[in-house]
Amino acid sequence: MKHLLHLVRADARRFRVLLALWVLVVIVETVFRAVRPTFVDERQLSMMFNLLATMLFATRWLGMVLIVALVVQTHPLVGSDAFWMTRPISWRVLLASKMALLVTTLVAVPTVAELALMVACRVPIAEALPIALQLILFQCLWLFIFMALSSVTRNLARLAVVAGSVLIGLILLLNVMIAVMMRRMGDGPRMVDMVPRTEPSPAGFVVMLLLTIAAAFMLVTVQYRTRSVRRSVLTGAAGICVALAAVLLWPSPGRLVPVPDWANRDSAVQLTAETPRGEFRLSHDGSPLRPGDGWQIGVARLTVRGVEEGWLPTMTLKDASITFDGATVRTAGNGYSTQAVLMAATDALNDGPHSPVERQVLGVSRLLESLPFPQAERGTPAIILADAEFRNRLGSQGTYRGSFQVDLDRLTVAATLPLQAGATFQSPQRRLIVDQVIAQNRAASIRLRHFISTSMFASGLRPRLSFYLRNRGKSEAVAGSSHGGFGGLSTGIGLMLIGIGGWSSPTEAGNGFSIISDVIRFPAAYGGYAGGPPPFEITPEWLSQAELVIVHTIPAGSVWRDVEIAGFEIAEAPPPRPPG
């Protein structure tokens, strides 16, 4: 222990400036994350903050690499000329000293900072702890990866060369894999797998993460013990193979999402065709490497009946065929996904697929959607035919038989908030504060802050949020849509950034803790109403009686249904109408 502390002190003394700067960057960044969404309206400030965020991120990332490399390579593990190698310094004590310093600085400090931020933002402790644990795991992952690279290289320059080579190698490998996969792709429309809704289990990913950390740690340990790059790299590679094998072979114990009782009744979720007409449109969705003759997607107007109030069905084509006189044409593939169209009386001309359910849930008779949904494009993809087959059969009639998977979502009102700054919504994984309500010409905007906390350990499907302004007196509502969040980071690199420390992906699918400033527009991206003027307008008077309604869309289970359409006609779809 005496030697361990002595070595830690020596390294800490040598790199005290660098370590202090890094800790400072973490603290500044944490404070910055908390205050940044407050200034989102200031355009110049916002740009400056974006730049600052990028700089803080880069500094933190590079700082971490630099610290690990310098601390590890102070006692080089390659070559035969290092001073410590002929001194009574046990490899175990040396490794422990490096770990103690690096874990304290690069894992503990960001974790404490993140916890402090979450506590300040009133994240429930039950949510904060898994996020902290997740952050620790990702920090450890990156720490051990950088330690592994540093332990098999002599100095920063060689580390850069090795890291660059590994990166280029991975990119090349990825490109080759993509090219091979695309080569193997069929030339038909891209299909999705038919999987009944299951609650994703984090176990496989967590196991892979733990095994990858273990592999990197083993590499480091073997390098410290033997100082043999060959042995340590082989050990690390074997560990990575085990981690990958574990992911590939890990049983997917995802629990099937339970189907609501009412949906199991025979009379529930019945599909019927409005007309026996199938409208076909050429699809360009094929493999660019293997262009085929083209594919026609046939859309049928299917209606779903027997769905309880507040439930939204989404249909996915599983299999289909059309029997003509003596010949049967089967669909080219399965699983082309779309949402079912529920035909309902009110505003049918401009209804989107969700509209009737939304109106039910909101308890209004009129709903102004964000996007008009042209009647001509309504329908459910029911069959996919090769273009040549379609040309052959154009105008002919047969008997259509299709199987569909119907996923059910429940829409519920999560909260009704007054339209004023300071209104707050709190759910287990999310807190939301209205910062400002802005009335505009026939529109309104609400600026709000989201505090999202989701960890990778959480199983189950998370509800989605949607926002509405509702005027009960007029029985009217208008749907809003988000115009992008500020303060978080893009989804693509979210996972990596968690590992770098503290930052979290802003998306619900991402993990960690994030604070995002968002602007919800009502109605958003309104492109004109298909059937003339909008049914109502947002005026200051309308707004004065309105409230903000937050609706949860909660995923439920899947059911399978067949539909048969006699005299199904193969027809060409009319050209889409221009918007407005």
Binding site: R14, P76, S80, D81, M85, T86, P88, S228
Partner: protein, 303 residues
Amino acid sequence: MTYAIETRGLTRRFGRTEAVKDLTLQVPAGSVFALLGPNGAGKTTTLKLLMNLLRPTRGTADVLGSDTRHLDAAHFQRVGYVSENQRLPDWMTPGELFDYCRPFYPGWDDELRRRLETDLALAAHTPLRTLSRGTRMKAALLASLAYRPDLVVLDEPFTGLDPVVRDELIRALVDVSSDRPSTVLVSSHDIDEVERLADWVGFMRDGHLQFAERVPALLGRFRLVEVVPAGDVVLDMPRVPHWLLHGTAGRTLRFIDTRHDHADAAARIATAFPGCDISASPLPLREIFITLARGSSSVAEES
């Protein structure tokens, strides 16, 4: 006799090159053993193998009774290693270096440290990287002597140092050894300094150990023989394996007898050169080293 170092068939290969070949060496405990040889002879590799800085391709080596492949922290508390190629923690001042080393050695002697600091004039308060090579070597030596190790291994410690520094280093070594006898293994090109220090000498060439013996015995074995014929004749050098032609000067033939310690050595020479005037004079270690470095390996192999 007990040995501080023993190797058996020690071999180290780098790719296709065998840097050390089948080395069998014994360094008696308490001796000062000089490992000599030209550049590329395999001396540094040998020392690195002994310090477990390199793994042997074949063979084994024991240092202070332990297999070098299993040398651990406890063993290194009894060993001091200084090499001209060693990467010192050069961000430290000499004082910081000694403070850094001290906790690892139960036998660290602060009084000896202070004495050596004074003797070696090591009062520098600037980082090692800014110091001269000689001062850095002094610091490295002090950091390897202040705990009175049982074995000191020095790899080319005097290379490139001025005579004053060399003298200071040797005095420090002698000073510590006089307090408490320890084994010193030193590889060096600096034969004059080694001659002052060593009581055993080993000679390596092309990875092979040509010989290893006590210095007095070595000095007694080599003689420069001068043969002056009685008349106006030119002498031919007879083919005797342990006679190495040194040159001719006029009528005088000079050669080195590498086995002059044999009882019949003088008689053999007299028989080979009848009627000639023969004289044999001792050679300094430097001459012996140069002779061996240039000369035939058969001489050494025979010895």
